[in-house]
Amino acid sequence: MGTELGKYKLCVSARSADKEILKKAQDGGIVTTLFKYALEEGIIDGAIVSGPSDEPWRPRPFVATTVEELMTSRGTRYNLSPNVSFIKEATRSYGLDKIGIVGTPCQMQAVRKGQLYPVGLRDVPDKIALAIGIFCMENFPYQSIKQLVEDHAAMKLEAVKKMEIGKGKFWVYGERGQVVQLPLKVTHKYEQPGCHVCLDYVANLADVSTGSVGSPDGWSTVFVRTKNGDDIWSKAIAAGCFETKPIEQVKPGLELVSKLANEKITKNQKTVEERAKFGVNKALRNPYISPK
């Protein structure tokens, strides 16, 4: 298709140079490292990230204004984290002027839409200083993750060390060393149905988007998309925050990213088309086409 990866200025495979971040990072620790750099350099005053909550593996969006707070958000929690819900509050009772936000492609769309039409977001658009997007095939409600881990993987949620989606499987690693892999066929029915109309895999609207796909284990693929993103990324590279490799020299490389992006788009396009015919004379709205 050719447009599946969106517009980008630069694509590399990268990994954080900070060992502390890598200890608990999902892959290359890109988001945490970039936010840490931006926070320390004053590019952002704080970042909206998702951290641990009272329930195991349920993400809780919060505003991190220090590196210590940021560190608690390392790693991926595979279920919904309404980060955008904090975007206004960050400029209000948190008093931020320059906000960093991380989110899935749909959340990046929401942020950009909010910047373009700031309905209910007075004085917010000019305060988004760095938007980092993460690759996303689909997401799960918390109940789904609970069921997948506790019923399918037969593990207590509290006892899980890490979750991961890779090599066509959903991996659950236990504290005691046990590893369970579930075929993605099993997880499909637990996905959030809203995800099935999304035609964006690699966060096309973010300043910088990143994900594990395309890079070797422990590394992440990074797309630098906007002028702002490029500016911050090149400064972070100059400051030695990341190790990078040209994307062409790593396996499996961009081809796999393209393949998965195309898969997502083709699959979801079908849902979009089905929904257009859903019901009697009452098609569900296609979010990618403005109503006539």
Partner: protein
Amino acid sequence: MSKIVEISPTTRHEGHSKLVLKVDDAGIIERGDWLSITPVRGVEKLAINKTMDQVPKIASRVCGICPIAHTLAGIESMEGSIRCEIPQDAKLLRIVLQCANRLHSHALHNILILPDFYIPGTDKKINPFTPEEPVRSVAKRIQRLREIGQTIGEIAGGEAIHPSNPRVGGMYKACTPRAVTKMYDLAKEGLVLAHEQMDFMIAVLRNMQKRDWTEVGGKQIPLPKTLGYHNQGYMAADPMYGSSNLDEHPGWDPRRWTDTRPWDWYMGEGEVSLADPGYPIGGTSPVGTKVNPQMEACTGVPLYDGAPVEVGPRARLVKFKNYDEKGTWGQHIARQLEYTDCLYTIINALDEYNPTGKVLADPIPQGDGSMGWAANEAPRGCDVHLAKVKDGRVLYYEMLVPTTWNFPTCSRALTGAPWQVAEMVVRGYDPCVSCATHMIVIDEDKRIVAQKLIQ
């Protein structure tokens, strides 16, 4: 033989109002009626049976200039009814919010009144939108003051317009130390600007006070030294914030309040017999236009101790700071004197505020239907809300907003002035007309006597 002039609509203030003036042969006002022609909103009726959390938010929607005052007065009248004391840190945030609103509103009013005045030492009127100095830097200062007020309001209250953070029982969110620092810095910056702006405005006003004439519609109109004088009383609940029935010494007394109907107060039917097509903007109403203030007025006439009273900056200064300057100029100057007070109060409140403190009362009672009231000192005067809440639902709600109090008082203050400067007197009250249109008229026995109009 008196003649009738009608200026409709009046300009450079919020809302829709008009002036019907009975003038003598020399054009001096014998009797003036200033009345609201903004349609009645019916918020009081909408409030019935809504939850106590919803009603203040709905009430704030009557106006976009002082929604903060309406939100706070609404919420505190609910708290007055359910007898809920809020934590100190929540109160401090509300005070910050209140002052931020007043700062921005007074600055906005400066823009609205400046075209009436002259650059001192010249016969050149001020156009706040001109790129020429010295006016441009004044306009920039005014906008910066408004920005500071709105940004502080946004942080403390969630939104500068229709604040989301205040709630029955306190506030939804506490401000972080960073947010407090930001507000503090803004207030410090604003303080310097406020001093400059206050000095500038007072210089302009004193210059105006010394003038013998002003130019209106191409004519030189004499300015009486007693412009805007009246013999009515003053009403203010607090120098800065407000009062409610929960206070040990309440600043307002519901027993002293009665209402009268507009048809018992305003002039009856008449016909315009004097017109001036050269009057800005677009001339006065043509000769032959029918007027009937009694029936056109969209407000009740609230009385305090049986007479109309003035509310607003001058009333606050008269009541609490021994201010004694009368008339339109005295009113304007009182308003400028409040500029710095707003910022000092913000700074003091932030000094006292503890970011880790509690901002929500626990538990929040649901109310037994007893009466509660809150009088909030909005930028343009005392804004009283009354409510009865039972089991979390509103049984009764009433708003007595500043300009409603000022309508009859200002009408009296028009007497003796040339009709061409009547609008200048009106602007001295910083009118906010849209929220002033309420139509529940209550007699001495607190019976609703004009309910028909709103049903």
